[in-house]
Structure formats: structure tokens, C-alpha cells
Symmetry: C2
């Protein structure tokens, strides 16, 4: 089934209504592979002439999280960041403290060791947060940083 058809039918199946606001927010989040915050989404939509209230943006984000379309991330900045899950594979994040770049990684050995640690304590792993904060090779002068800050 087409990806957007699935979006629509999941809403319907859950007794939720299909609104242009929900479609626009989902489209906006799908449109890049970045890890943006709620206000980014709100402002981008506004810029594009689709003004939707912040309350609706936040409410829709919760719907998208609940039905597995997106994921909330928290890098200790005091606000949530979002990413779509079009590619359903799990990954963790490497964040450059120099330039802000976010790199995705998966290491199967780490994944297995996490499960093992839980088992050793008699726990069943349900989810995990794994973030590596690092400095890119170019520290302290980074072209990426320059490019992002003009």
C-alpha cells in the first residue's frame, strides 16, 4: 500500500479524522532526514502559507509518535527533536559538540550487549537511549559549522 494511503487508513482505523493539518505536518516532517524541533515544523509550515496553531502541531506530533510514524528525541537541549521513521531500522545518534552535526549509527554488538546487561539484572529491555557526544576532526574549525551559520 502507498505510504500516504497507510497514513490515512491508520487514522481512519483508529477513529481519528483525516485533516489537512495532520497531512501537512506529516508531510513537513517527512520532507527531510534532519532532526528538527516542533517550532521548526510550525515555522516552516507557516512560511509555506500553511499556518497551523502550535497546539495542533504538538497534538499531531503525539498522534504521529503513537502510531509509529515519527520518533521524539531529546539531546539535553530542553526541547524535543523529531525524526520520521520511513526507514524503520533502529539507529542511535552521534552528536558533534563542535558543529552540531548529528550522525546516525547502529552497532549490533552494542545492541546485543544492552540486552545482555538487562538480562543479567533480570530485566526485559523495552527501549534505550544511546547518544555519543563528540568532536569532529575539524575541531575547532569546521566547514560544516561555518556552512550552517553562514
Amino acid at each position: 500500500m502507498d505510504e500516504n494511503q497507510e497514513f490515512i487508513s491508520i487514522l481512519r482505523a483508529e477513529g481519528l479524522r483525516y485533516t489537512w493539518q495532520r497531512q501537512a505536518i506529516w508531510d513537513e516532517i517527512k520532507s527531510t532526514d534532519e532532526h528538527r524541533d516542533a517550532d521548526d515544523i510550525y515555522l516552516s509550515l507557516k512560511q509555506a502559507g500553511k499556518t497551523i496553531s502550535r497546539a495542533t502541531v504538538y497534538r499531531t506530533i503525539d498522534v504521529l509518535v503513537k502510531y509509529g510514524f515519527i520518533r521524539k528525541l531529546e539531546f539535553g537541549e530542553g526541547r524535543m527533536r523529531l525524526e520520521h521513521k520511513l526507514d524503520p531500522a533502529h539507529h542511535d545518534h552521534l552528536v558533534c559538540e563542535n558543529c552540531g552535526r548529528i550522525i546516525e549509527f547502529v552497532d549490533d554488538r552494542i545492541e546485543d550487549l544492552q540486552t545482555a546487561v538487562c538480562q543479567q539484572h533480570g530485566f526485559q529491555l523495552t527501549r534505550h537511549v544511546h547518544q555519543l557526544f563528540a568532536r569532529c576532526q575539524a575541531y575547532p574549525d569546521c566547514e560544516y559549522y561555518q556552512s550552517q551559520h553562514r
Copy 2:
């Protein structure tokens, strides 16, 4: 040198003043191995007759973090938690989503793999956040949970 003498001399060495408020907050955080939040500290002190403004609690926490006495943690609850670093060894956290228990763990293989992942991307690891969310064996009935909620 006695642990508290060190507290006092670090303050002095940094040109900071030794106040009973700072001593009381440090004592309160040292007093347990739990992972409490700022308001817990504030309220416990108040309960004990040592009323200190919240602003001072937050300011002192930042001083304690800066000089390595404590560490801030963020478990995605929207507020910081604290832990003392009397034992300077690094550890990560396993959090039970059933009863709230927090278990500390270290796995040297994971620690090494984290460094390796960073190197593969040409980054220098500076710090990491690793939290395992899990269910204890007793799920959904947990004596620990019962004991914490009367």
C-alpha cells in the same frame, strides 16, 4: 584530605565563598545514592528546617557540577536529576519502566565500542548518555513499586 575539607578548599581556591547554604545542599545531595531532582533537594532541606531559596539551590547545583562533585542526569522526564560523585567511577543507568527503580551498570565492552564508533566517523568522544529502559521480572506486580507507593 578529608572529603569536606576538599569541598571547602575548592570553593576557596576558586574565589567562591563558603556558605552554610552551599554546605547544606552538598550534604543533602551526598546523603543518599538516589537520583533526585532539584525540588526534592529543596523540599528535604526545608523539611529539615533549612529553608534555602530555589534560586540558590539551582545556583549551587551548577557550582557542584562545575567542580565535579555531582552530575546532572536527564531521563526524559522534563527535569534534571542529580547524583553525587563520591565514587568517581563512571556508570550508566538501567531504569525500570514498571517500578521506577534505577540500577547502575558499566560494561567495558560497550564503553570500548562507543569509542570505536566515534573513531570510525573521525570523531573524538567527549561524553555519552546511555540509558536502558526495561521491565523488572516482577512486572506488573513489583514489591519495590508497592514499597515506594506505600
